[in-house]
Amino acid sequence: MAAAVAIAGAQAPPPSRPAPQAASPLVLSARAEAELKIEQAIGHLYQLLLEQPGTPQAIQARLRLARLLALSGSDQAALAQCQRIREDVPSDSPYQTRALELATIVSRRVRVSSGFPLLPVFEAVVSRGIQSLDNPRTIEFESESRFLLFDEGGSGRLYRVAPDATSQLPVPRDMSAVSLLPGGGILMAGKDNLVAVSPARTFTLTGSWGGRTRQLKEIKSIASTSTGDLLVVDGDFDGLLRCPAGGTSCAPWGVSTKLREVVVGAGDWVYALDDKGKIVRVFDSTQKSLAVVGPSVGSMSLDKVENIAVDQSDGLYLLDKDLKRLFVVVMRADATGRIAPTSLGSVPLPQDGPMAVKNPSALGVAPSGAVYVAGRSSARVMRFQ
């Protein structure tokens, strides 16, 4: 007999299900992942799925498990987990979309492993309302079909591109960078200040290094972690600055070399592109260096990486403007916690014809892993998938 009256059912999960532990498998898994004990993190999630399938936590666990399985190189298992989520949750659940997007990313990798070409389909994205792009810098996705396109040309322009319409958003003076915030807000960096939209907020950031504190006025790139921390590349500082969530004071973090771009990926891993466009350094949330990508990827040497982007499954995309080529690198973790960047391949950017992207400068990755590229002196945004 159970020790107490056990109640099961939709309204009240049974207390006599496996006794509550000090921390749930989800928490334990997150802890293990933070410590780069990926197999252990996966083990906790399997434990939850075996012992408490059908609970709401099990769906979360499957999604996390799919990502970790992909990180550990088990793409087929990851794909199966994504599909199981789609079968287990109602069609209107947000998990449906997230599972489908992750499945698409992983499917692409599985197909490449089976000999199918990487990103074989490319096409121009309909972007009515954009006359021309002077210096497109950033593409940030709000959803699979809607993205922000930042053109640094002139005083800076920020477009919101959707299938049915393109709108231009108000921006701060001399806008230099943009990032999406957790929860859907937009953060724009200008010459004088930073402007956050939704919730609206205007503020300045200060950085402390070399015994001085100064206002950050040359922000070249900015990115946000899932907890709201900001990572900033500033032209006045040779390195990366991190600003805690809600605060305005930033401090050197992770790397002290001149940088060009910073992005934050799954697990709040930080990807920092050096100013020469040759190396991307990968850090975990504790500043631990996980991996270095470049100066060569696969059999090719990087020439001048103009921009980088990440997908939700630890895929890193590098846009080499001189090679006119798009590289895809996937982070893989082995049983010891070592992260090994693995080249998935590269695709050349078309240089002739109506689809040509001659001066690629902006790169973005949709939630499903579709890659968007925009170049200077063109109004065209190309999608590779």
């Binding site: 049974p14 794909l79 499917s107």
Partner: protein, 764 residues
């Protein structure tokens, strides 16, 4: 049914015994005894005699009372020999006392009574007393003259032998009065009469004749315990011969042995019954009856003529075969078969065996109950002699609705109206379970009442596991259902907006499914009860249709569905499919991966699904993949199922399926359902009972090992868990998860988590 055998003639078995002397069972009139006095009569006579010296008057009064008492007593019966002296003394002393007082009337009256007590009184008296006695004797005497056709019969007057019947009449001169006259002769039934003698007259009695005694009529019956009725009156039961003989005179016992041999009855099992002092010249009806036997009737007629020809020494009357009673069973055959087999079969509340069962049963109506742990079946069977009644039943899992209560103001009250509503909704909705009703119970088992339902709900609310366990047992005893349900209104049950909790229990554990119904309405209840009907096929529930392929939906252009994984060695793998292949159509239609799974569930094993899997140069490449049925770990934990209902269904299906492999798959999932309730021991028991589980996604011998380890771990038996996990860690060819993770891989991870095999990689 009555079997009659009329014996019209009297067949005497005089030759059976060399001599007989049956006990003289007298047919005396019914004795009416006086209510016992505080002191015996003779004591009081003695006291009166002693008082005569000291207080004559008082003594005389006492003697007068004693005299009246004596007269009244003798009107009812003759005096016993032992009583006679005291009665004689009363009248001798009384006469003497009254003589002193010159009360001549009372003196004469006393002597008259004295002579009535002892007509031949001759004890010495005083001369005056003797003179008066003689006078009374002369004046009050009459003559009794007794003759009889039965020579040598003894003549007894008021119990005193006064003569023997011979050629001449027995002639007695005695004082007038009422006398008990009796004629006795050995081997005869005494003849008796009351006679009143008048002074001076002669009373001739000639019609008294003791009749020759009739030996007992013996019946041999082939079994003891048979009821015997003589002329409609129950007179006893047949008694085993060996026991009866101990109570019989030697001659009767010997004669009984002879008739046993003659009738070829087995003395070790046979019984007998003696009808003693049977009437002569009148038919005697003797009936033999017993439960489950056809009644036998013997009509016996003993005529005087026949009796006269009887050897007077014969100890028994034996009518040959007519005295031999062989009881014929009044039975039909009851055959009970059930699916599942091994169900307990009760006949009229008595367990008689397990199905399949065949046995002879008394003709008539009987309550038959086929009881299995998955449910029961009750029926009234009409058994006809010589015919077979067949009960062949497929038992469905049973659900009993115990009743409803309302909880308001901290009290629990029966809610019969709500119970009726729930009952009707259940009856309308239920297809998977048989709705159980109360069964016939032996009186010693307590009945389930409305109060019991309230007690159950209180036990649930208080977490009183002991009470809950006891009440669940009572409920299943009353209903023969492994599933029981109660309804609890969380407020006044009359108010339709009161929320309702439905609680479903399985009899072997305290875990309950609890489902909240927002309002008390038939529709809301029907919606909830519809869930109880799923799955409608437990066996199908634990098997899935598959192709040896996993599919995944994608957003890739022109690749709506991708092959996620191909099971090595499967038909799909042999057909050349590989992970990453695009699937653009199934059976000619563009479908999603989710739809493919639904499509598969409609297929039968052996059906073929045609996939369009384009490759370079072959945009319309078609691959035909056969559909397989394979075991699966069913979605036991999903809240859309009532876990206890699943347990009942899985257990029922496992009990009925003839296929051992199917049974193992059902039981594998049953164990998982126990795990849902944290019933680790129950789950372990089921896992350990598995013979050889066929392998499917998440199901198989390795998976069973893994889950056994998990149960041991939960029970704090870490060493056992580690041992099992180590064994499981070597099994890499069996999947534990449907994503391709093997038992070995996950066991190694688990071992690492437990601090064992540190550093062991999963090796997926």
């Amino acid at each position: 049914m009555i079997r009659r055998m009329l014996v019209t003639g009297c067949v005497l078995a005089a030759s059976l015994a060399p001599g007989w002397s049956g006990p003289a069972a007298a047919q005396d009139p019914v004795e009416i005894r006086a209510i016992p006095q505080v002191e015996p009569f003779e004591v009081r006579v003695e006291r009166a005699a002693q008082l005569l010296e000291a207080d004559p008057q008082a003594a005389i009064e006492q003697l007068d009372h004693l005299a009246v008492e004596s007269v009244e007593l003798r009107k009812t019966r003759p005096l016993e020999a032992g009583e006679r002296p005291a009665h004689r003394q009363v009248f001798v002393i009384r006469a003497r006392a009254h003589l002193q007082l010159l009360n001549n009337d009372k003196v004469e009256d006393s002597y008259l009574e004295l002579l009535r007590i002892d007509p031949f009184f001759a004890e010495p008296l005083a001369p005056r007393e003797q003179e008066i006695l003689d006078l009374v004797r002369t004046r009050a005497s009459g003559v009794l003259e007794v003759t009889s056709p039965v020579r040598d019969a003894l003549v007894l007057l008021d119990g005193i032998q006064v003569g023997t019947i011979g050629d001449a009449p027995v002639r007695l001169s005695i004082v007038a009065g009422l006398y008990h006259l009796r004629l006795e002769k050995p081997g005869h039934q005494p003849a008796a009469a009351r006679v009143t003698l008048v002074p001076g007259q002669t009373l001739a009695v000639a019609d008294l004749a003791p009749r020759a005694r009739v030996p007992p009529v013996a019946f041999l019956v082939d079994r003891p315990g048979v009821d015997v009725l003589v002329d409609g009156q129950g007179v006893g039961q047949t008694e085993r011969v060996s026991e009866l003989k101990r109570t019989l005179p030697a001659e009767e016992a010997a004669a009984l042995d002879q008739v046993l041999t003659l009738a070829r009855f087995d003395p070790s099992v046979s019984a007998a019954f003696f009808v003693r002092d049977p009437p002569v010249d009148r038919t005697l009806s003797v009936r033999f009856s017993g439960e489950c036997f056809i009644e036998e009737i013997r009509t016996v007629a003993i005529t005087a003529d026949a009796l006269a020809r009887l050897d007077p020494t014969a100890p028994l009357l034996w009518f040959g075969e007519s005295s031999a009673v062989r009881m014929l069973p009044d039975v039909g055959t009851l055959r009970v078969a059930s699916v599942p087999t091994d169900a307990d079969v009760y006949l009229d509340n008595q367990i008689v065996g397990r199905s399949p069962l065949q046995r002879d049963v008394c003709a008539g109506e009987h309550r038959v109950r086929v009881r299995h742990r998955i449910g029961s079946y009750n029926v009234t069977a009409r058994i006809v002699r010589g015919r077979s009644e067949v009960i062949d039943v497929t038992l469905k899992p049973s659900l009993a609705f115990l009743g409803a209560v309302e909880m308001a103001d901290s009290s629990v009250r029966p809610a019969p109206g709500l119970a009726s509503t729930v009952d009707k909704a259940l009856a309308a909705a239920m297809t998977t379970f048989r709705l159980a009703t109360k069964v016939d119970l032996p009186p010693e088992i307590r009945r389930w009442t409305e109060g019991s339902t309230s007690d159950l709900v209180v036990a649930i609310e208080r977490g009183d596991e002991e009470a809950l366990s006891r009440l669940l047992k009572l409920a299943t005893d009353n209903y023969d259902a492994p599933l029981v349900m109660v309804a609890v209104a969380r407020g006044p049950a009359a108010n339709v907006s009161t929320p309702l909790d439905l609680m479903l229990f399985w009899y072997e554990h305290a875990g309950a499914d609890r489902v909240r119904v927002d309002r008390i309405s038939s529709q809301a209840l029907a919606d909830v009860f519809a869930r109880l009907n799923t799955p409608d096929d437990a066996l199908r529930f634990v098997f899935e249709r598959g192709l040896g392929l996993e599919f995944a939906d994608t957003l890739l252009p022109d690749v709506p569905v991708v092959v996620a994984r191909v099971e090595p060695g499967s038909p799909a793998a042999l057909a050349g499919l590989k992970a990453g292949d695009p699937v653009t159509a199934v059976d000619g239609a563009q479908v999603s991966a989710v739809q493919i799974r639904h499509l598969l569930e409609q297929k039968k094993p052996g059906d073929v699904l045609t996939l369009r899997v384009p490759i370079a140069g072959q945009p319309n490449r078609q691959v035909a993949v056969p559909v397989q049925s394979r075991p699966r770990r069913a979605p036991i934990f999903e809240d859309r199922y009532y876990a206890n209902a699943l347990i009942a269904q899985l257990q029922a299906a496992a009990a009925v399926t003839p296929n051992a492999a199917d049974r193992d798959v059902l039981n594998f999932n049953l164990a998982l359902a126990h795990m849902r309730f944290g019933e680790w021991r129950l789950a372990l028991g089921v896992f350990e009972s598995l013979a050889k589980v066929p392998t499917g996604p998440g199901v198989g011998p390795g998976a069973a090992l893994y889950f056994r380890a998990l149960c041991h771990e939960r029970l704090g038996e870490r060493d056992r868990a580690v041992t099992l996990l180590r064994e499981a860690a070597t099994i890499d060819g069996e999947l534990l998860m449907d994503d391709g993770s093997s038992v070995g891989a996950l066991a190694r991870i688990r071992l690492a988590w437990l601090g064992e095999n540190r550093g062991a990689g999963p090796g997926r």
